[in-house]
Symmetry: C2
Subunit: 368 residues, 2 copies
């Protein structure tokens, strides 16, 4: 595996060199993990002119959640009172003869950046910008395999919940049970805080579970995901509680389902991000839900649950093959509730069968 | 309650005015919550010369986890494509006639800070530094009441775990069960990721639960806390599994217990942070565990689990009354395991009975 990480670092180094910077400091944890295989707490990665160094505030613990560090990588464990590894890295860059250091200005705080500048005024601090995030957008098949397993785990956890009694249980407990089931099925943990929304809460993006109990006639919307070896998927479904959905529930569900399908069908290499968003959004807008629709139709997933690309009205760019994204339009009617349907898919060439659906739980409107 | 938040904001405004800045932008979520009663995702608080404005990227959801927003506070919900609230706040500060804006340089990223500067070059961006964190150190009795309840919840969850069968269960499942019990007893959620460490993992700070199962003869160290109305406590205990602890286990436990007691007894108004740390640390060092001891003897708790003050060798400052802190020395012997004992206490005057212990689970060495 080490060649993999060394290759990723080489591609980043090439981009830095092209930008006129001989050294780069990667501080965002997911970016550190992408380039080293691991993410010890607080560790930063220095890409030097000659060698790469991982600076760790304390010895890496070797917890599975940290991943497996590239053993070919030079690791330096700083003394307990060694201060900020990013500041220490400046010294290493100077010793390596670098005159400029590209840093992640979208991750470093102003205070850390100033501290780095003050220890070596002659070292020019440039902006690495989101160079690593850009490298992360297109996944290799090993990464997609992890996402596929993460999706299977989420499908299993959700499927088991549907077989249990739901009426009378609180959002909070249902969310906890889902997270326990994710771990039971082999997840390192939830990919993000599990969202369970009942009745008037249903369909709200990122709703945090409350003590509200599931009631007859509720919409129940659930959004969960598994973290498997650092890779995070997402699935969201909406159900009705009780035997017979109300007409407005059926209408709203069918509408969001149509919008979500349109979004999924718009996924193709070369498709503009905003066109995928529009495909789903215009169906909701045509039905008068332009304002109550979610701001985002979908986003990339991988080592973080919310990665580039953003499938939104103002997004610039086009999809590539092997980019995993969510498609998750929804409508929330304040006071009444709403519907969200959320899948994780991988963009594939038409010749390869088109978009690969990772989250396969049914999207029929189930009455539970 | 609103007077409470208005009063806190007034105290902050006075500090800014003294520093020559008529306006301040608070972006760190816990600081926003401290000053407004709530923390809608992404919201920032502008303390203007005349009025205070909470800028929210989307309408506050009103989830309990967000707290209860001061209804006297002016709230502005930005349009979906309104961009970064911190950048929008710059415009509000200009309109309010401010020529300088103090910002949290330890929280804002370089990129956000630059975006703020670019929209209003004539507005001077100063550093608010950790002014709000400093205000947060000394708690009022309402805050301490929340911490007391959080501690009760953690004690209950831990006590129930001790009555269950442990041998054969994985760290991951024990951690999940503890988190479920925290919620069962009324927590908004765990105060931080629950740590369960068995055998060779035991005694490690911030150990992330793995699939290792509890075995006869293990040390089992557990660290958990409840989040109650935003306030977070911490308790850590170490147990032995099986009927008869080994001699080295008893010795190590007694040593860490003595160090933790010395730390607790050093808590008093006027005591230097570093002296509290030394009181515990010197006992471990005298027994030859200077290197294997934890870097930190304790830290403040409140709206965040790791607040000022830091009870560490290099910390400057003295304790005040009504400051809640943890005392959590430990020793980890690589490959063998170790012991940590962690309580949350409130510093009180001697006349008031001395330090108030919030986490009351026994610290005897229990063999489970």
């Amino acid at each position: 595996m080490s060649e993999l990480y060394a290759d990723r670092r080489m591609r980043l180094r090439d981009r830095c060199a092209a930008a006129g910077s001989a050294a780069a400091l990667v501080s965002r944890p997911a970016n550190v993990r992408y380039l080293t295989g691991g993410s010890p707490a607080g560790a930063v990665l220095l890409l030097g002119p000659d060698e790469d160094v991982l600076l760790c505030p304390t010895a890496p613990g070797g917890d599975p959640a940290d991943g497996r560090l590239d053993e070919l990588l030079r690791q330096v464990v700083l003394p307990t009172d060694g201060g900020d590894p990013a500041v220490a890295a400046v010294g290493f860059a100077r010793e390596a003869g670098a005159d400029a250091l590209s840093v992640e200005e979208h991750h470093l705080t102003v205070a850390r950046h100033r501290a780095m500048g003050s220890v070596a005024p002659s070292l020019r601090l440039a902006d690495l910008s989101s160079a690593v995030e850009q490298l992360r957008i297109v996944k290799d098949e090993d990464e997609i395999a992890c996402l596929r397993i993460a999706a299977e785990i989420a499908d299993q956890a959700l499927g088991e919940l549907l077989e249990s009694i739901l009426v009378g249980r609180t959002e909070r407990h249902l969310a906890l049970e889902l997270e326990r089931r994710l771990v039971d099925h082999g997840a390192d943990g939830p990919a993000f805080p599990t969202s369970v929304a009942t009745g008037p809460h249903s369909g709200r993006v990122g709703h945090r579970p409350t003590d509200r109990r599931v009631e007859e006639g509720d919409f129940l919307s659930v959004c969960l995901g598994a973290n498997y070896r650092g890779y995070r998927c997402e699935i969201g479904r909406t159900f009705v509680i009780g035997t017979t959905p109300a007409d407005w529930q059926i209408e709203l569900y069918d509408l969001v389902f149509a919008a979500q399908r349109a979004g999924r069908e718009a996924l193709a290499p070369g498709a503009a991000y905003r066109d995928v968003d529009r495909a789903a959004r215009q169906i909701l807008a045509a039905a008068g839900h332009g304002d109550t629709a979610t701001a985002l139709t979908g986003h990339g997933v991988g080592l973080e649950i919310d990665e580039d690309p953003q499938l939104a009205p103002a997004s610039m760019g086009k999809l590539d093959a092997c980019v995993p994204v969510t498609v998750e339009p929804g409508v929330h009617l304040p006071g009444r509730g709403g519907v969200r349907i959320d899948d994780t898919l991988v963009v594939r060439q038409e010749a390869d069968g088109g978009p690969e659906l990772l989250t396969i739980t049914t999207k029929e409107l189930l009455a539970l």
